[in-house]
């Protein structure tokens, strides 16, 4: 409720987005192929600001690049000591959390993006996770949402890298987004925001296709679509490999 009110306020307060500055974007790759030896990926994001008029005076242009992976609900469980051992007790369902989220900015985020704008565009990590509804009724639910961020930050899945976008002459910008090896497949959304004095003046969105390919694709699909055949195949392959290796080793020793 409060959030909706704030958004409405923000909409009224911010000057209508006069699109006199637009993003022209390039990506070093718009698809990431997860192959058998996939070891993470680095995507170069670069672009220019197209404008009809001269650079407006006032605070300089800042750039924020946010890449998010497919979102889904996450069950967060908390351990408590019961009968001397640590067991999962309470759990909270966080409605929506991206599997990957990286933000790169040209200056500290809180200096170039106001809170209202952050709320409106869900840029910062805390805003990208949505745990509204029933989940927030449980006391301490915020702790659970914080835990999602903390755990995924430690795994390198969530990151905020300030001052990593290089901006030249308020026109050209570039940065690189590192993606770890443990990626979930799906459509990744790259959003680019141009801000001046804390408010967003232009926004651009594009998708990066992250897919398993080749053998990985084949095995994953088969395990979901034909689980019986997949199970039988796993057994046959494993038996053949085991028997083959032991026979080869025995022959080698003789």
């Amino acid at each position: 409720m409060l959030k909706r009110l704030l958004i409405t306020l923000a909409l009224c307060a911010s000057p209508a987005l006069a699109v006199d500055e637009e993003v022209v974007l390039g990506l070093s790759q718009d698809r990431v192929a997860i192959t058998a030896n996939f070891d993470g990926s680095e995507i170069l994001v670069f672009g220019a600001v197209k404008r009809e008029a001269p650079i407006p005076p006032g605070p300089p242009l800042e750039v924020i690049v946010a890449v998010s992976g497919p979102s889904g609900p996450v069950t967060v469980r908390r351990k408590e000591r019961k009968l001397g051992i640590w067991v999962n007790t309470d759990s909270v369902l966080v409605d929506r959390a991206p599997s990957f989220y990286a933000v790169a900015t040209s200056a500290p985020l809180n200096e170039i993006l106001s809170d209202t704008e952050d709320l409106r565009y869900s840029v910062s990590i805390a805003r990208a996770i949505r745990s509204v509804g029933a989940a927030m009724n449980i006391r301490g639910a915020q702790e659970f949402a914080d835990a999602v961020v903390r755990i995924r930050e430690n795994e390198g899945l969530y990151s905020i890298r300030e001052d990593t976008v290089a901006v030249d002459e308020q026109t050209l910008f570039r940065t690189s987004i590192e993606m770890p090896a443990d990626l979930t497949e799906g459509d990744y959304v790259a959003r680019i925001f141009l801000t001046r004095g804390g408010s967003v003046v232009s926004q651009f969105e594009t998708t990066i296709d992250v897919r398993k390919v080749g053998l990985e694709r084949f095995l994953f699909n088969m395990s979901r679509q034909q689980p019986v055949w997949y199970g039988l195949m796993s057994l046959v392959i494993a038996i053949a490999a085991g028997w083959g290796a032991s026979t080869a080793f025995r022959l080698l020793r003789e």
Partner: protein
């Protein structure tokens, strides 16, 4: 060389997996055990999701037991009739085990269940083995060999549905072996182990089977039960990672061959003490994880469902 596991959805070093397989293989070759009880916890430690570790390990055990059972068939040390009775119990047990596993998974308690099972069984088996082998070591030093104790013939022989098992030279009720099989089947599904470490002592001490047919017969049962477990996990949880299984297996088979050579050169009593110490060490590590306050109290799981 990093390799992305398609089902586990994690990227791990292929040589680490080959090495782990090899190490556990050496131990299993030295001690003549399956090694599942060591491999599954090790997979947890390197970050494979427990559900994937348990299911994949079942797949790996099928394959690593296969060449073993062939050798026993050649030596005619498999009691097929006894194996079949154990197997029928085992299949029922595995089905029950997977149901329990999936139910607790939906409650978010599957990690606890698996860890508790490991702590209890590794603790009991390791402790008994340690005491027994220390005693044996002490006796062999004194040079007094205790006369082998006559087998207890009590309640096992008072049960109905008796059957003759020629290869084992037994005439006993089918209920105890079926129960042993059932129990091991449940463990196999929950813990991702073959269950040889429970079944072999049970066959010797409880059923009174001759030692020479015990290993072959238990391998025979293990192959089918773990194959069944693999299929159940593959069709209900989609957690069997064949790439992971093959990598562990190749390392494991080569390790086992090296282990057999090492094992043949070491005295049996000392080997048993070593194995017992190893089992207790794994048990201790898992118990500490339960007892000490974890550095991260929260854990994430797939949401939705309800």
């Amino acid at each position: 060389m990093q390799i992305y596991l398609p089902i586990a959805e994690v990227s791990v070093n292929a040589f680490l997996l080959l090495g782990l397989g090899g190490m556990v293989g050496i131990l299993s070759g030295m001690f003549g055990v399956g090694g599942g009880f060591l491999m599954t916890p090790l997979l947890f430690f390197i970050g494979i999701p427990p559900a994937v570790a348990v299911a994949t390990e079942a797949n790996q055990i099928v394959a690593s037991s296969f060449s073993g059972v062939l050798a026993h068939f050649r030596r005619k040390t498999v009691d097929l009739k006894m194996g079949t009775v154990l197997l029928l119990g085992g299949l029922t047990g595995a089905a029950v085990g997977v149901v329990i596993f999936n139910y607790l998974k939906s409650l978010g308690q599957v990690d606890l269940l698996v860890t508790l099972c490991y702590v209890v069984f590794l603790g009991v088996v390791g402790g008994l083995m340690f005491i027994e082998s220390l005693n044996a070591l002490r006796k062999s030093k004194k040079g007094v060999s205790a006369p082998p104790k006559r087998r207890q013939r009590g309640w096992v022989h008072a049960m109905p549905f008796k059957m003759r098992f020629r290869t084992s030279g037994l005439y006993i009720s089918v209920i105890p072996p079926a129960l042993v099989g059932l129990f091991v089947g449940v463990l196999s599904a929950i813990m991702g182990v073959g269950g040889g470490f429970i079944m072999v002592p049970a066959m010797i001490y409880l059923l009174g089977m001759p030692t020479k047919v015990v290993v072959g017969t238990s391998l025979f049962q293990i192959i089918f039960v773990t194959a069944f477990t693999t299929m159940l996990h593959a069709t209900t949880n989609y957690t069997v990672d064949v790439v992971l299984a093959v990598l562990l297996l190749v390392g494991g088979v080569i390790g086992a061959q090296i282990g057999t050579v090492i094992g043949a050169r070491m005295p049996a009593e000392q080997l048993r003490v070593l194995l017992a110490a190893l089992v207790l060490a794994v048990c201790g590590k898992l118990a500490l994880d339960l007892l000490l306050e974890p550095s991260e109290l929260f854990s994430l799981g797939a949401g939705g469902g309800h």
